[in-house]
């Protein structure tokens, strides 16, 4: 059976609402655990208010944060899925974005970068972004939306092989401290670190690591998994908590993604996904039924190309 543009539009509209309103369970559990251990008074107050806020959002069906970010999509197409038109799929995502912006409502954040003109619907040139991937032996299409603010908490640096792990730690500390002050990064955050690739893939990997992996998930390489844990502990040892107040709640979890890179370099990117970590995924099955979840399951073994074939 063929998946239609109407199925896509229905699913995309629904995940736009879910992402804006319902905090994912993995992130909620992570924040609850941090609230239990936070010793800084003000930082603890902030976490408690955030937990109240998640409840209010779900009860009232209103966005958990008014800065509903730059809504965007990640599409994973099963190799056996059949869709009559991929252009129609992208058109459906655009329509769902505009409709959800009006109906939820989302803040129409998207403006022209130079002229600041807008259409009040989060659509525009190259917006929203749609990233594509494929999955073998599957007949479904997964669509994930991420609503992430975009002003603070992300940085890129070209390191070199000689910098080693120390260089990454230095860069991570620089970024967390600089953007953590006054809480501009809206921490505690899921921190995504991209290592390697070319500069653009490095940024992309870090962003996807922050936004498309759930709290508690570990990289399949046990050495990288150890680094994820070590970097999380490092961030939480800065002495800074929520809103940059004295405390320990900086990093809910740390995810690292790597890509083979130029022999002379080690590009690194750091991304922070905020206190309103908004993501939602829909799976459109081959018979047109739709199921919803909060784990994008983006990084599959095929996605990482773990083998060499």
């Amino acid at each position: 059976m063929t998946i239609t543009a109407k199925h896509i539009e229905t699913a995309a509209y629904e995940i736009m609402k879910k992402a804006a309103i319902d905090i994912p369970d993995d992130y909620l559990t992570g924040i609850e655990a941090m609230a239990d251990t936070e010793s800084g008074d003000l930082s603890a107050f902030v976490l408690s208010a955030m937990l109240d806020n998640y409840r209010a959002a779900t009860e009232d069906r209103r966005p958990m944060c008014a800065d509903t970010g730059l809504p965007r999509y990640y599409v994973k197409v099963g190799d056996k899925a059949r869709m009559d038109s991929m252009v129609a799929l992208e058109a459906a995502l655009r329509k769902a974005t505009a409709d959800a912006t009006h109906d939820v409502p989302l803040r129409p954040n998207r403006v022209h970068p130079l002229w600041r003109t807008e259409h009040n619907n989060n659509l525009g040139i190259n917006s929203p972004e749609v990233e594509w991937s494929f999955e073998p032996d599957a007949d479904w299409i997964d669509i994930t939306t991420v609503h992430k603010g975009g002003l603070f908490g992300t940085d890129y640096r070209m390191l070199f092989p000689g910098d080693g792990i120390d260089g990454i730690k230095r860069f991570l500390l620089d970024t967390l401290i600089a953007f953590g002050k006054r809480g501009l990064a809206c921490q505690p955050a899921i921190v995504g670190i991209g290592i390697g690739g070319s500069k653009d893939t490095c940024m992309q990997l870090g962003k996807q690591a922050a936004c498309l992996r759930v709290v508690g998930d570990r990289n399949p390489d046990p050495e990288i998994a150890k680094l994820e844990h070590e970097f999380k502990e490092l961030g939480n040892s800065i002495g800074m908590g929520a809103m940059g107040f004295v405390g320990s709640s900086m990093v809910v979890d740390c995810h690292i993604e790597v890509g083979y890179t130029h022999t002379g370099g080690m590009p690194v990117s750091v991304h922070t996904f905020c206190l309103s970590s908004r993501r939602a995924t829909a799976r459109i099955h081959s018979d047109g039924t739709i199921t919803y979840r909060t784990d994008p399951k983006w990084f599959t073994p095929y996605m990482r190309r773990e083998g060499i074939s």
């Binding site: 804006a20 609850e32 609230a35 008074d41 003000l42 603890a44 902030v46 408690s48 208010a49 955030m50 937990l51 806020n53 209010a56 009232d60 209103r62 966005p63 958990m64 944060c65 008014a66 800065d67 509903t68 109906d103 939820v104 409502p105 989302l106 803040r107 129409p108 954040n109 403006v111 807008e118 009040n120 002003l151 603070f152 940085d155 640096r157 070209m158 390191l159 070199f160 910098d163 120390d166 260089g167 730690k169 500390l173 620089d174 401290i177 002050k181 006054r182 809480g183 501009l184 809206c186 490092l234 800065i238 002495g239 809103m243 940059g244 107040f245 004295v246 905020c274 206190l275 309103s276």
Partner: protein
């Protein structure tokens, strides 16, 4: 689940009185009732740079700053419904430091006494601009309590320049009730909660880098001296 520590909490009615403001200390919690207005770069540019007149509120044409002396650095997640009414979903602040250059003229023009936003402003602004005018700064909490603040907005009293500036930049006047929580950053003595916490955290920062080897290449991002070489 941990219960948050109890903090001194104030429930203030807008327009806020000088005696109310005087009670606020850094770290206190505030909830507001009355009318708050929003203003971000679009509004400051229009009024202060382009010298366009301030809007008036209601059919009586009253000066809106007699109604509200609370400036919220905010743009709501809002929509205009088919019947012309407004739906306000989430309400969150935007980073205030970007508006610092306008605050002195704005406070003089409008007699605003409470500024609410994200992240505070430099301590010098509190000392030199807000405190001498009897004004204080409140920060929103966690920067994401959009649903709690959205609940606190009972209705839209007015919106100005919506067509010209768009939903995000327009000047909104919200009727609010139990609107909060906000944390007091600056008091009328010009103290800053953020500055105090930054200073406390800064004491430990250099120790975090102890034992890490120096970078292979110094580079922009680690220095802002443009005369330095990156090698």
């Amino acid at each position: 689940m941990t219960t948050a520590p109890t903090r001194k909490t104030h429930h203030l009615t807008i327009p806020v009185k000088a005696s109310d403001i005087a009670m606020l200390k850094p770290g206190d919690i505030v909830y507001l009732e009355g009318v708050v207005y929003t203003a971000r770069e679009g509004v400051y540019d229009r009024v202060l740079e382009k010298q366009q007149p301030l809007p008036v509120s209601g059919q009586s044409g009253s000066d809106l700053f007699d109604i509200s002396n609370v400036n919220f650095h905010c743009s709501p997640a809002a929509a205009i419904l088919d019947d012309g009414s407004y739906k306000i979903g989430g309400v969150t602040a935007t980073a205030s430091f970007r508006f610092s250059k306008w605050m002195e003229r704005w406070l003089d023009l409008t007699n605003t006494k409470i500024v609410i936003g994200k992240g505070g402003m430099p301590k010098e602004d509190y000392t030199n601009i807000l405190a001498p005018r009897g004004a204080v700064y409140l920060t929103t909490v966690g920067y994401g309590t959009g649903a709690l603040l959205g609940r606190g907005v009972t209705s839209v009293k007015d919106v100005f320049w919506l067509d010209d500036l768009g939903i995000a930049q327009a000047m909104w006047m919200f009727n609010v009730k139990a609107f909060g929580p906000f944390i007091v950053d600056s008091d009328i003595a010009g103290n800053s909660l953020f500055a105090e916490h930054n200073a406390a955290i800064a004491e430990n920062i250099s120790a975090l880098y102890d034992g890490l080897k120096p970078p292979a290449l110094s580079r922009y991002g680690e220095t802002d001296n443009r005369k330095d070489e990156v090698m």
